[in-house]
């Protein structure tokens, strides 16, 4: 009996075979996606044809005809839409880069302050974190832009800082450097200094590992990095002058102007992201067990050395992955620029250009691709750094 019952079980019906089922399900999924995609593409093409919009990327060469309030590369109304895209992308990169820089510094400071043994400092840091991260970024951005920077006095009654920086509702005017011939010696000296400092640090490390003798490579390196450009400057007679902004009529002439949209965006992005980074830093430091601190004290390391050589390297391993996602978030959040009219890629390209040309599909795809590539680059870099810092196990 038993044998008779087992015999058919040796070859189950085809549909109960997991492999056959898997193939069936996958084919089903593929078909559904393909059908859906075909339906959408078909509709889109029909709609575009009906609206008389020619698809393709030819529009990138057309003259834009509008001006942009801030551009790091030469741009005029005669420039093409492709140029507009570049200007927007560079502005996005600029604001994200500066935002990441300030957010990291502020975040580390607040994260450490949150763990301070000083009760008052710890509580202030905690209040900062809890308030900032529970309020929408867009609201904070509006606050900085409309409630703070827009209500600053007009250029005539600017707030003066050291007689050369002027803060008013048109932005922050500051002196801009004017490079004179011979100036290139200084950056070259700086580059040589940095390379020399790295070489010295490597040599000192090798010597310490071989002989145990220590060398103040940090101070020597700092001396080289600052000293060489200084020497170069003295020899060439500092071929650099400053163009200070001056009030002419109703506005400032000369110098550099940071537009208020840019200032608001950088302030909002970095203070908001700093609250999240601070929490990451705190949890990273707390993740290093107390035994590590005790062990390094037992080895005779000083408090600062313990922090620098024992705690931080281990904490960084915990901090870096969430830090990566904060950097990514900041970069993506920089697109909120559109709400206060900072000319980033979303505002000028996905906004104005789209409105003028109607090439919705191409423009949205290009914009999304830019952010995707940016995200991949940042996470790629951070993964590389993470691997460098990761624990080397057997």
């Amino acid at each position: 009996m038993a044998v008779e019952q087992l015999a058919p079980a040796a070859r189950p019906p085809l549909f109960y075979d997991p492999r056959v089922r898997a193939i069936f399900y996958q084919l089903l999924a593929l078909t559904l996606v393909a059908l859906g995609g075909y339906y959408l593409v078909n509709n889109t093409l029909a709609n575009l044809a009906r609206q008389g919009i020619a698809s393709g990327f030819g529009f990138l060469d057309t003259t834009a005809g509008f001006s942009i309030s801030m551009s790091l590369i030469p741009y005029s109304e005669e420039s093409s839409y492709g140029r507009v895209f570049l200007v927007g992308l560079i502005n996005t990169l600029l604001v994200s880069g500066i935002g990441v820089f300030f957010a990291t510094i502020l975040g580390f400071l607040i994260g450490i302050a949150r763990l301070s043994r000083n009760w008052l400092i710890a509580k202030i840091a905690a209040a900062y974190i809890e308030i900032l991260r529970n309020i929408p970024l867009l609201l904070q951005l509006f606050f900085w832009y409309f409630a703070v920077l827009r209500t600053l006095p007009s250029p005539r009654d600017s707030v003066q800082i050291f007689d050369s920086f002027f803060l008013n509702n048109r932005g922050l005017s500051s002196p801009s450097p004017l490079f004179e011939p011979g100036f290139s010696a200084i950056p070259i000296a700086l580059a040589i200094g940095i390379i020399a400092a790295i070489v010295v640090a490597r040599w000192a490390r090798k010597r310490q590992e071989a002989t145990g003798e220590q060398f103040h490579s940090f101070w020597v390196g700092l001396g080289i990095i600052i000293g060489l450009p200084l020497l170069a400057g003295i020899f060439t007679g500092f071929p650099l002058s400053w163009d200070t902004p001056e009030l002419v009529g109703f506005n400032f002439v000369g110098g550099m102007v940071l537009i208020p949209e840019f200032v608001a965006l950088v302030v909002a992005l970095s203070t908001y992201t700093a609250a999240f980074i601070a929490e990451n830093v705190r949890s990273g430091i707390l993740a290093v067990s107390h035994g590590q601190t005790e062990a390094s004290f037992a080895l005779g390391l000083r408090r600062s050395q313990t922090l620098r050589l024992v705690i931080i390297p281990q904490a960084l391993r915990v901090i870096i992955p969430p830090l990566t996602s904060q950097f990514l978030n900041l970069t993506k959040n920089s697109s909120l620029a559109a709400a206060i009219a900072y000319p980033d890629i979303v505002l000028v390209f996905a906004g104005t250009v789209l409105m003028q040309t109607g090439q919705a599909v191409e423009i949205i795809v290009i914009t999304m691709l830019c952010y995707l590539i940016l995200s991949l680059l940042i996470s790629g870099f951070m993964n590389w750094y993470n691997q460098k810092m990761a624990l080397v196990e057997r």
């Binding site: 999924a29 509709n43 009906r50 867009l138 609201l139 909120l336």
Partner: protein, 369 residues
């Protein structure tokens, strides 16, 4: 001084109280505020900062603020003008929803609050049914109430929706849709079938790699192109679709974290018991995995709730959008700060409440050691 001559033998000294400098307020301050010289300097600087910062803020917000009145002329003092908020309060809460129909929104709030509160009653039976009602029954009731068109309720067009009401609708739909979609995507990403896996990874990574604004832009300009001629979605539905896709991708990554954290033995044990895939996931894996990632899920909810403000960029007037609109009203120019402070307070209460609740839940559900 009569005790001076008294002598004690060893071991019989009375227990003296701890030195004053180590107990009580003074002791606490010595340890926590003035432990070292740099520490003391930091404390003094921080205290000075608070003294410089807090009194003017309190003065502005309460002591010299205007509370009573109906127009901007009633704001005569130098502090905040809360009259602005008072006059615009209904719009900030409900948008331009008709006044005589507001009971529909309020009724839905009451139903949701009652069902939600019942979930908190300890020891009450039938909680799963209440949960199911909130997830399935309530959205249907809310849809009928809000949109109208049935049961003699007049239709209210979505452009009239706004204020905190709209914010809650968008975030509730996003939250309710993102959890199941996220679970399915996460399971797909961990699947053994290469095609399903690839599709899920592509979907998740594309949405996670782009900012919500571009998603909303896409929803507002590209979705109409995707549809056949004549068929058109409401602007709100397009935004909701964008928010749903976006948040489900984030939710999928959170759930995946939970799935990865479970030891392989759980899967093997479930398979050894003869459970099929869906039973294994539904009865063994997901209950544990979701419990592990509750903080992550709530964080995603908080993020989504804050991100709903972005819909104002595509022209929907949510809570913040209404405040922007009120602030640009010619009769009420110059009260932006009051509006932002009020909005910040509103959002903060919701987000802080959610994060505290998640911490509480995390402690309650912590069954490990």
């Amino acid at each position: 001084m009569s005790e001076q001559g008294q002598s004690y033998t060893t071991g019989q000294h009375p227990d003296l109280p701890a030195p004053v400098s180590t107990t009580g307020v003074i002791g606490w301050m010595r340890v926590n505020l003035f432990a070292t010289v740099p520490n003391a300097i930091l404390t003094i600087l921080a205290a000075l900062f608070l003294l410089w910062f807090i009194p003017p803020v309190l003065d502005w917000a309460f002591f010299s603020a205007d509370w009573a009145g109906q127009t901007r002329d009633d704001c005569t003092r130098e502090g905040a003008c809360w009259v602005f908020i008072k006059v615009w309060f209904r719009q900030l809460m409900y948008g331009r929803y008709p006044v005589e129909e507001l009971w529909r929104i309020n009724l839905a709030y009451v139903i949701a609050a009652a069902a939600g509160l019942l979930l908190f009653v300890p020891g009450l039976r039938g909680k799963p049914w209440i949960g199911l009602f909130l997830l399935v029954g309530f959205p249907i009731i809310a849809f009928i109430l809000f949109v109208g068109g049935n049961f003699g309720l007049p239709v209210i067009e979505t452009p009239l929706w706004g204020g905190l009401f709209l914010t809650l609708v968008i975030s509730a739909v996003g939250i309710a849709a993102s959890l199941p979609m996220g679970v399915v995507l996460a399971l797909g990403r961990r699947s053994n079938m290469p095609v399903v896996k690839a599709l899920c990874i592509t979907f998740i990574e594309i949405w996670r790699g782009v900012p919500l604004i571009t998603v909303l832009f896409m929803a507002s300009v590209m979705f109409p192109l995707f549809l056949p001629e004549g068929m058109n979605f409401d602007k709100l539905i397009r935004a909701l679709l964008g928010v749903m896709f976006f948040s489900s991708a984030y939710m999928a990554e959170v759930v995946r974290g939970g799935l990865q954290a479970l030891p392989k033995g759980q899967y093997e044990a479930a398979q050894a018991l003869g459970l099929n895939y869906w039973k294994m996931m539904g009865l063994v894996i997901l209950p544990q995995a979701l419990k592990l990632v509750i903080p992550g899920i709530v964080n995603t909810f908080i993020g989504l709730f804050k991100d709903t403000t972005l819909v104002l960029i595509i022209g929907l007037f949510d809570f913040l959008g209404m405040i922007q609109l009120a602030g640009t009203n010619p009769d009420w120019l110059g009260f932006a700060i009051e509006g932002y402070v009020f909005a910040a307070f509103g959002f903060w209460i919701f987000c802080f409440g959610m994060s505290r609740y998640s911490q509480h839940l995390e402690k309650k559900l912590h069954t490990g050691h």
